[in-house]
Each structure stands twice: as C-alpha cells, then as structure tokens.
C-alpha cells in the first residue's frame, strides 16, 4: 500500500531521502503497518509529537491504509 508521510519541523531530517523539508514523501508499506511502526522505522526521537492522518488526529496504534496521508508534528517549547 502507498502512504504519504510528511514530517514537520526538525523531524523532516528523518525522511529517508535525507533532503529535509516538510513536503510529503510516498512510502510503499506492507498491509497492517501502524503509525507506531512507521515512527520506529523512521527512527523518530522519543519527543512530544502530534499525529494526523488525512487531516484528522490519530492515535499512534492506528493502522495505516492505502492512500492515507500521515503527518507528524513535534511541538517545541516557548510561551
């Protein structure tokens, strides 16, 4: 299945192509892949984050589906 993945802010450095930037890349993933699997595969640091799938908030144990658009955003401190 094909899933588009966008990584915001400093997480963009973890895109496998190493190019950086927040634009989405398309990944070919096995059926049943969860968001948590992708977080592990991409080697994202264990830092606070917010996860969206298809513009809706999503839990990290959710399973991804063909055509999904996954976005992961890490808030940074300051206020």
């Amino acid at each position: 299945m094909k899933v588009d993945i966008a990584l915001f802010a400093y997480l963009a450095d973890h895109q496998p192509d190493g190019v950086g930037g927040r634009h989405a890349r398309t990944f070919d993933l096995p059926e049943g892949t969860t968001i948590a699997d992708m977080i592990a595969n991409l080697g994202l640091p264990d830092q606070p984050r917010v996860v969206f799938v298809n513009n809706r908030h999503a839990a990290e144990d959710s399973t991804l589906h063909d055509g999904d658009r996954l976005a992961i955003f890490p808030p940074v401190a300051g206020g």
Partner: protein, 199 residues
Amino acid sequence: MQPSDQELRARLHASSVAVVGCGGLGSNVAAMLLRSGVRNLTLIDFDAVDASNLNRQLFFADQIGRPKTEALAETLLRIDPDAHLTLHSLRVTVENLVDLVRDADVVVEAVDRADTKAMVVNTCMEALPDTPLVTASGLAGYGSANSIATERPCDNLYLVGDLESDVNAGHPLFASRVMVASAHEAHAAIRRLLGFEEP
C-alpha cells in the same frame, strides 16, 4: 450581505474561549480576545507571577507572587468590568483538561513546555474533536516576525508559529515575537468564532 459590526460584536460577546496557560502567550491572548469582544473567558494556569515574566507577559511588578490567573483577571476586569471570567489555578493533566475546557467554543493552547503542548493538543483533539483548538509552536528567538504564521493542518486545529524556534535550544523569548504569536492565536480564535474556517 455582510454582517454588521453590531452583529459581529454580538457573536463574539456570546462566545466563550478557554485559555490553557496564562504566560507569554495566554495572558496576551486573553487581553486581545477581551478587547475584541469575547467576554466569556476561562483562564487556566498553575503558576504565580515571577519577576522574570515581566519582559513579555501581561503582568506588573506589583503582582509578583500572585497566582497568574488572579493577577490576569484583575487586569482584564480593568479593561472590561463586565467580563465573565472563570479561573482555574491548577496544572492541567490528561485527567482534568477535558472537563476544564469542555464548554468553550474555542480552546487556545498557550503553555510553554513541548510535552504539555503535545498533551493538550492530543487530549483535546481526541476527546473534543468538534471544538476548534488553537496551538502555538516556535516563537522564541530573534528570527523574523514574518516567519510566524497560522496554518490549519487539520479541520479543527490552528497551528501558530515558525514551528522551529525552540526556547530550549537557547533562543531567548522577546516580547515582540511572543506578541506576534499571541496575536495570531487570538485572531485565529476570533475568525473561527465569526465563522471563518481558514486561518
């Protein structure tokens, strides 16, 4: 036909906003909302006013040591004695947050720590998916004020900031840039209360 100024004001007067965190962002957001006509505000913060806050937060030297919610309420009531303010001087948690903000038309995240920001966003979007939430990330440092923007990454979430500038990375907080982010947050809330979904 465009709504009249009076109709717009009436809409804002009848609205309520919960401000989670009353520091650099929240104290200024609350004042801007009130000045714009939002009279029902819930103010949530566990902290007390400190001398180090006065460089960017809407507090005064004679309020040092007082709970931020109470000090802010005092100032807001000087702006509008008819404001309806609900104060919660406590630390927000996954357990208490939803009940504190459930009745608001819009929730504004205005805390300082990254983990608390993520908790507020995750908890509100999970439990109150139909309530618009405004959050801020990336407002520290002396980067251009023009790099602070409002985005709408999903239907009911408005994301303010440059998304990068982390106070923990050694960037100081300047009143000017914090106020830009605060104004973005307040304005995103106002637009949404008036029915405009795009930031």
